[in-house]
Symmetry: C2
Subunit: 419 residues, 2 copies
């Protein structure tokens, strides 16, 4: 089945909006074995819309049009599609009923502008929109199934999940198997190297895919009618990636750490220098994190490492702020001041300035543990300031994840230091 | 001048990458008065590439092709373009010299795979790439100027600035005027409302544009050969937006606050509950922030508000953690514990749980000031947890910005409370 995408909106052409809708669609389609063959983006431009509607329907089985369903004069999808299909526009009773219900729910009067959203090509079927005022619709043109969808990402996402995917699944190939894993600590090229070094020639029947989302990397396996091979390689991949697998399906490190702590009824505190509050911010971005987190210490200056966490001035003087001794004292101080079960402490040189020959920019010491035992690790992360801070935050969370899961193996992450 | 864009790469079709290159190009073109007429995205697919290269060059003056210049077999741009143009492929001496220099600089041997990047359509001119191994090139096809560019965003950005924009400027209309301002605290629809209420009928000769970047909103004004009208409306816009204008050109709130503090030789501390360290993290993301920031307090629990900042238990009991009294004591405690000149303190209900009738989810109290005076504001931010936290962080920074600039006006931000 050959699928094309036609995206419309002046805001897409001016660069005022980065199109994430098409990537979202492609990801969802990939999981059921469908690929998008091509996508065309045009502004709110009658001639361009008409010409690509005609052309794309001639060469594809399905055309998904995204955007242009709103109430303003710029929203042209229904009008131009009717013109190209050679059918009149007519008020669609179901679309009108949806609009009336939508307005009533919000205490609005149905305005003439909104009412325009029920004027659709005669004979089309509507595609329900459970979130917004604009329904999608569905008609056949040049033997191609045309589906129109709203440009608002949250409305599109639900319409895709509830309406479009079930519709397309009926036409999709059967026997598609799909699995994905979220990993941390290995780059895409490193994993590809490991796969080719350790798993030999990769079977042509299996698609191995990657999606980089800072800081996690999604590893995807897809196949068609090869259940034995698929399971075999899924198992091999799991063994290869081992404890770098953070979760199967969607996940974020902070949510996993919060969940692990909740199950144990334990708490975590943070003592941050170079990450400047980012680890605490990640943890508290998780709803319900107050059950496992009561305080974080952002000790940016040496003086405040001493005042807030009780780091000995002699330690700072002798070993420096970026040292094993200092992060251990920071972790111990945070444990004692907050009465938490676990602590993670970080001190490093985010750059661009502040590096020395001995401790270049990118050097970071991390300490983590509890009152019984504090572990440490030194890393060298060669990224710009923002990348360094984001990655150091993720590594701090991953070290706690490993600790809570009892994984004792040391990981070099993306460090330049050999371990 | 009619410009089309052809983007290529399987990773764009699978949704593994969200295309930000085309938005970047469109933004740059807009500033010199050029618009992109349409863009087409296809995978590494010979037939699709050939067919769109032929079609788009027939209907446009300029076609920019992005991607497909790399060293692998999937990188097809040069090969297919030569085929469509009916010219042979040949090793381009300048491209080869660039590759050799690039390898020498990095201590690599020039590999056969890399050498492929110098095999270009005969007769083309190269477009230098100062960052990467792949040069772009430039040829004429169907009377259309075809420019090829690398897919790597950092390489593309520099090639656009140094090579492509100067090339297009020669063909662009003269007399384009462009100005932009970064604003905070007003939404796009609110600004449009203010413009139509207070500036009357908008002149057709002026383009007013918006680009939402959380948390700042960019407001853009563009015109052609209308210098008097342009200046007049630029002035009107500046008066209308007033102290909501954070900067002209690019900016971020934290960098502005750090800069204002540096100039005064003063420092800032943070006392955060619902934002969980995010304000401190924003400040410390600015290089050189250690000159103005020495500590931040993340006091998530009531107990730690007392232990770390000295908030009286009676205050918490009587008024609650989300109250004017509590944030004032948090700010005072942070000032005294860190010996900073300025403090900002926030406490609110990020949700989804924890709201009451009196203090619904989204309620937030903010205190800011110095030892001489602490001011406070209550807001109600109706966003999801993440949106609430990001916006509360930005508002905290903006309140400090206004304070440091001596702006005394109260702003309702995006709050539901009438002020």
């Amino acid at each position: 089945m050959k699928i094309a995408l036609l995206l419309t909106g002046d805001e897409l052409m001016s660069g005022d909006i980065v199109d994430s809708n098409s990537a979202e669609m492609a990801q969802m389609f990939f999981e059921i074995g469908l690929n998008i063959h091509c996508k065309v983006t045009v502004g709110d431009d009658r001639a361009a819309l008409a010409s690509y509607m005609a052309e794309l329907t001639q060469h594809h089985d399905v055309l998904i049009i995204n955007g242009g369903l709103g109430p303003t004069q710029d929203d042209l999808t229904a009008e131009i599609l009717a013109e190209v299909a050679g059918v009149p526009l007519a008020e669609h009773p179901e679309a009108l009923a949806h609009l009336e219900a939508w307005c009533t729910q919000r205490g609005f009067e149905l305005s003439p502008a909104n009412r325009k959203q029920a004027i659709l090509p005669a004979g089309c079927d509507i595609i329900p929109n459970s979130r917004g005022s604009a329904v999608g619709f569905n008609l056949s043109l040049n033997n191609c199934q045309v589906l129109t969808t709203p440009g608002v990402p949250s409305e599109l996402r639900i319409m895709l999940r509830d309406e479009i995917l079930p519709m397309l699944k009926a036409h999709a190939r059967e026997g598609i198997l799909f699995d994905k894993m979220m990993t941390f600590g290995l780059g895409e090229s490193r994993i590809q190297q490991m796969v080719s070094d350790q798993l030999g020639t990769w079977p042509r029947a299996l698609d191995l895919g990657f999606r980089a989302g800072m800081p996690l990397l999604e590893v995807k396996l897809r196949s068609h009618n090869e259940p034995v091979l698929h399971q075999q390689y899924l198992q091999k991949l799991k063994e290869l990636l081992g404890d770098h697998i953070v979760a199967e399906g969607h996940a974020n490190l902070a949510a996993i750490v919060v969940d692990l702590l909740k199950r144990r009824g334990e708490s975590l505190t943070t003592a941050e220098s170079c990450t400047g509050g980012r680890i605490a911010a990640e943890i508290t971005s998780v709803a319900g994190s107050s059950a496992v987190f009561n305080a974080g210490f952002v000790t940016y200056s040496n003086q405040m490492k001493t005042d807030m966490l009780g780091v000995a001035p002699a330690t700072l003087e002798q070993h420096g702020a970026v040292s094993e001794e200092t992060v251990i004292e920071m972790a111990k101080g945070a444990l004692s001041k907050s009465s938490s079960h676990w602590a993670v402490a970080v001190s490093g040189i985010a750059g661009p300035d502040g590096g020395t020959e001995d401790k270049p920019v990118g050097t970071i010491w991390i300490a983590w543990g509890n009152n019984a035992k504090i572990k440490t690790q030194r890393l060298h992360l060669r990224f710009d300031r923002q990348g360094f801070q984001r990655l150091a935050t993720a590594i701090g969370l991953d070290l706690i994840r490993r600790e809570l899961l009892g994984i004792d193996r040391t990981v070099s992450y993306f460090s330049r230091y050999k371990l």
